[in-house]
Structure formats: structure tokens, C-alpha cells
């Protein structure tokens, strides 16, 4: 028997002697083998480390002296103080791990008592084996299951955004958390595929999240990140772990440095980071595709706006200041990103509804007659049919359709009131009226000052306009950036 086998058996015996099943066994045996004491010996009849000190354990030596060979059967003998002893072998598989020894017996036990003790012993051993298996499962499977659950949670957190900046920041934060590191960086390959560009750098000490100029791009093959990107192989060292972000091709690297408890990174953590990187790469690819789609949609809308502008300048589209104002109000109201994107699209094509309105009405100076106003209301919905087939504009259509509604229900085309009007349309109505008041229009002739226009908007709060949108507009108007919005190209 080599040293490791000896150690393994010794550990087994120590655990067995302390287990819950042996406590029950001791109780049972104290009834069957009256006044006895139970001790544990190793295969060579030496007391195990955890056994209590007892002079009678010297009998182990005596036993060895008697040259008993490790027996697979029980034995009855007398110890050095001439008392009866009963020993049972502890058998695991084919080998004897040790012995349970009953000492201080008054007389030789009967065969029935020995058999009962043997049954109890076998039961205790089986129970202990079950305990051991459960412990092993707890020690090996549970951490893996927890890690798997962590990865699943990370997947949920990452797949809930398609905004690239938000996503990259989230990946960095989660990496820092999972790796228990002080530093994490995410770098993506540039278009030339020769350099890694830092996209998020987060340090626990400084909490840097925005990529500052101090974080320079890295050439492929240079530094740890560059080498990982070139070889596409993860690197694990004492203080750092770096993993490539690979889909079909490499798109970047993710690295973590310096554990918070100053311990080295291990293989288990490398495995976790590799799995996290797999999740991250899918999320990054999705966000990249979404960005591309957004760009294409934006370009299509701009083209459409340019076509409409070519037909009649400033009739169907509004100025840049209008678009910026709409977005500023939406940001102030903390609308969701999706609402803001739809509002942006709508603000680029707000008056497509005027497309089939005759020019003599559109460009008429002065107040419209009720008949002309009826034509506008009717043609507004008709005109919108030219853009309703554009799939990416569908979520924006209610905003374009209803931005002439009034909060009190007196607007058009549907006479919606209050919260029946889409939130984007309520925002656009405020910006639309403000822009109209501060601009010269053919049908209006004169414009009013910015402060007068703001007062006018405030005056109509709750009647023409949504009070919440007006409050947000006033807050925007008080900001220094408002001057820049007003200065934007007409």
C-alpha cells in the first residue's frame, strides 16, 4: 500500500468515525454490547488520529505484536488489561480500510449480538457511503450548477439590450463581477482588423467606464490582448486572464486582471470567462446587426425626406432644431430608447400627411376656412398611406398620424385626448408649435420671440399640450444647450 492509499484510507476512517451514521451505530451497539466502548483502528490495528486517547488502545500495538493479519472477519481477543475485545473489519470494495473495535466487554458476546452488531455496522457503512456521495455531489456538481445558472443570468442581462455602448459597459461590469477582478477591458477589432480598440475599460479602484485617451489602441500581436487576438487562444496567468471574442472570425478580446482577494486566477474562472465571452460575442453581433439596420432605416428616411423636400422645401420636413428639440424633450421625460428612436424617425418626416393637400391650401396666407381645414384633416390620413408600407416606420406611424391631436381632444385626425394620444405625438406637438411660433411661415407672415413662444406653450398646458411634455420642454429651454438647439440649421 503506497502513501497516498494510506492517506486516503486514513481520511476515510476519520470521516467515518465522525459521521452521523456512526453516532447512531454507537448508540445501537451500546445496547447490544453492554458497557462497551467503540474505537477506530486502521488496517494495521493502529489507532486513527481522531480517536480519543485510551490506554487500552495500546492493544493496537499488542495486536500488531500478535501478528494478526488484516482480517476480513470479526475477531474476539483479550487486551493487555485482560478484558474482552471485539473487532469488525471496515471493508470498502476489496480492501480492508480499518477496524471498529469494541473494548471493555465484560464477557464474550453471544453470536446473535455479534450478528446484530455486524448488521448495524454494514448499515452505518452504507449510510456513510451515501453521505459521502452526497457531499461529493455538493462539492463538485453544485458549484458547476451555480456557475451554469450565473451564465444563464448573464445571458438574460446581455440579451436585454441592443444598444452597443450599453451592452459593452454591461459586459465589462459583469466580467469584473464574475471574475472578482479589479480591472476589466473589452477591446474590439477595428475595420482594418489590425488594431484592437478599447471599448470599455473598468477599474474597481477608479471606476473608469468611459474609454479615455490613456487607453490606446493595440496592434495585433502586441501585448497580452494583441497576442490573444492574433492566436485566438485564451491565456491564463497568475494575475490575468484574457479570452478572444470569436464568432466565425475574431471580433475582439475580453480581459480581466488582479483578483480582489489577491489570489491567482484558476482554470475554473478561465472556463467561466470563455463561456461569458461566447454569450458576449452573440450579444455584440446582434447589437452590431441592429446598429446596421438602424443606419439603413435612418438613411432611407433621410432619402425620403430629401425627395419630399425637393418637391416642396420645408413643407413636409422640419428644421434640425425641431428634431433636436423633440429628442431633448424625450430625453428629459426619460422615454425608453425604443420610444426615442421612433420619435427620431417621426421627427424626420412629421408632415408627410400634407403630401396630397393642395398647394393653394398649404401655402395660403392667413386663417384657413372650415372647409379647407376639413380637407386638411381628410387628406392627412390619405397622405400617410405613402409611407405606411415601410416596415421600420410602422412603430413611428402613430406619432406621425396623431401629432396634430390636442390634449383636450379638439385636434385632428381622431380627436384623441390625454393619454389616448401616443406619448411621442404629445412630445412632437409641443416642439411643432414652438418651432412654428419662432419661424416665418408663408401663411403666418410673422414670428414671435423665443420667450413669448415659451409663454404661449405654457399657457396652453393641459388644453392643447400634455402638461408633462410642457414641463419637460420648459426644463430643456432653461438649459444652456438650448441655445445650440435654437442655433441649429433651419
Amino acid at each position: 500500500m503506497n502513501e497516498s492509499e494510506k492517506r486516503e484510507k486514513q481520511e476515510f476512517l476519520i470521516k467515518f468515525s465522525k459521521s452521523g451514521s456512526i453516532a447512531a451505530f454507537r448508540k445501537l451497539c451500546s445496547k447490544v454490547l453492554k458497557k462497551s466502548r467503540c474505537e477506530f483502528l486502521d488496517a494495521e490495528y493502529r489507532p486513527i488520529k481522531s480517536s480519543s486517547e485510551c490506554n487500552h488502545l495500546k492493544l493496537g500495538k499488542n495486536l500488531a505484536k500478535l501478528k494478526f493479519s488484516p482480517s476480513r472477519e470479526y475477531m474476539i481477543f483479550k487486551c493487555s488489561c485482560n478484558k474482552i475485545c471485539l473487532s469488525f473489519p471496515i471493508i470498502q470494495g476489496s480492501s480492508v480500510y480499518g477496524h471498529v473495535l469494541f473494548i471493555h466487554l465484560d464477557r464474550e458476546p453471544k453470536k446473535t449480538a455479534i450478528d446484530a452488531t455486524k448488521i448495524c455496522m454494514d448499515l452505518a457503512l452504507k449510510e456513510f457511503q451515501k453521505e459521502q456521495e452526497l457531499n461529493k455531489l455538493y462539492e463538485t456538481i453544485r458549484p458547476r450548477a451555480i456557475a451554469l445558472s450565473t451564465i444563464h443570468t448573464i445571458h438574460r442581462l446581455l440579451s436585454s439590450t441592443l444598444n452597443m455602448d450599453e451592452l459593452i459597459e454591461r459586459i465589462a461590469r459583469l466580467t469584473l463581477q464574475v471574475m472578482r477582478s479589479r480591472y476589466c477591458s473589452i477591446m474590439l477589432l477595428d475595420e482594418s482588423k489590425k488594431y484592437l480598440i478599447p471599448k470599455a475599460v473598468i477599474s474597481l479602484d477608479k471606476e473608469i467606464l468611459k474609454v479615455s485617451p490613456q487607453y490606446k489602441k493595440i496592434r495585433l500581436g502586441v501585448k497580452l490582448e494583441g497576442r490573444v487576438a492574433r492566436t485566438c487562444k485564451a491565456v491564463l496567468s497568475r494575475n490575468s486572464v484574457c479570452v478572444p471574442l470569436v464568432e466565425e472570425d475574431i471580433i475582439g478580446v475580453i480581459s480581466a486582471r488582479d483578483k480582489t482577494n489577491d489570489e491567482p486566477f484558476d482554470k475554473f474562472e478561465l472556463e467561466i470567462l470563455i463561456t461569458l465571452a461566447e454569450q458576449a460575442v452573440i450579444a455584440v453581433k446582434n447589437a452590431q446587426m441592429y446598429e446596421e439596420q438602424e443606419k439603413m432605416a435612418y438613411a432611407s428616411i433621410k432619402t425620403l425626406a430629401a425627395l419630399l423636400d425637393a418637391k416642396s422645401p420645408n413643407t413636409f420636413t422640419h428644421s434640425d432644431k425641431f428634431v433636436q428639440m423633440v429628442l431633448a424633450i424625450a430625453e428629459e421625460m426619460k422615454l425608453s430608447r425604443e420610444d426615442i428612436v421612433n420619435l427620431h424617425y417621426s421627427a424626420l418626416l412629421p408632415d408627410t400627411g400634407k403630401f396630397s393637400i393642395p398647394d393653394e391650401i398649404l401655402k395660403k396666407p392667413g386663417i384657413l376656412s372650415s372647409g379647407e381645414y376639413d380637407i386638411i384633416k381628410k387628406q392627412h390620413l390619405e397622405s400617410l398611406k405613402i409611407i405606411e408600407h415601410l416596415e421600420f416606420l410602422k412603430p413611428a406611424m402613430p406619432i406621425i398620424r396623431h401629432h396634430h391631436e390636442k390634449y383636450d381632444g379638439t385636434g385632428y385626425p381622431s380627436g384623441l385626448k390625454g393619454s389616448q394620444i401616443p406619448i411621442g405625438a404629445r412630445v412632437m406637438a409641443v416642439a411643432n408649435a414652438f418651432e412654428a411660433m419662432i419661424s416665418v411661415r408663408p401663411y403666418k407672415g410673422r414670428k414671435i420671440s423665443v420667450s413669448q413662444a415659451i409663454k404661449e406653450i405654457e399657457k396652453n398646458k393641459g388644453t392643447q399640450f400634455d402638461p408633462e411634455a410642457v414641463e419637460a420642454f420648459i426644463k430643456v429651454a432653461k438649459k444652456p444647450e438650448f441655445e445650440n438647439i435654437l442655433g441649429a440649421s433651419a
Partner: protein
């Protein structure tokens, strides 16, 4: 932050701290954590909210998911470790 002693008085908080001390890399939802600990989700959620307020648990929120992880603050982690050792 409340004294760690006070946090350990609450059994749910104590269970959560023991769990994260044993699994510091874990990020999970309240439901997941309650499953690992074997406690009612409502009690665990309440204790998690309190521990987030105390800065011992970090919350990662999105519109649809709230996940919880152990603090990265070395000093707090050390204090908790010390408490757990003394408990044993």
C-alpha cells in the same frame, strides 16, 4: 452600512451572505438564489433589497431582469469572512 453583527441577526441575510461567501463568482436572480438557499423567494427578495441598500450585494438591473452579486469591496468581504469563521 449597518454593523455586520446586525446583518447576521437576520436569518435570511445570514443565509445569503454564507451563500455568496461560498460562491463569490455567482450572479443570479432572487428566484435562483432562493433556490440555492432553499428559502422562500419573498423573504430572500426582501433580504436582498436590504443588503443592496447596505452595499454588500450589487444589483444588476435591466427592464426585465434583476440579478444580484456579491460586493467587490475587499474590506467588506474580509469582515464578512471573519464573521463566518467566528460563527463556525
Amino acid at each position: 452600512m449597518k454593523k455586520i453583527k446586525n446583518l447576521f441577526k437576520n436569518e435570511a441575510s445570514r443565509k445569503i451572505l454564507l451563500f455568496f461567501n461560498e460562491n463569490p463568482n455567482c450572479i443570479d436572480t432572487a428566484k435562483g438564489i432562493s433556490l440555492w438557499i432553499g428559502w422562500d423567494i419573498n423573504i430572500i427578495q426582501k433580504a436582498l433589497n436590504q443588503l443592496v441598500k447596505e452595499g454588500i450585494i450589487t444589483s444588476h438591473q435591466t427592464a426585465s431582469t434583476a440579478a444580484y452579486a456579491y460586493t467587490n469591496n475587499k474590506e467588506i468581504v474580509k469582515k464578512i469572512e471573519k464573521w463566518i469563521k467566528n460563527m463556525v
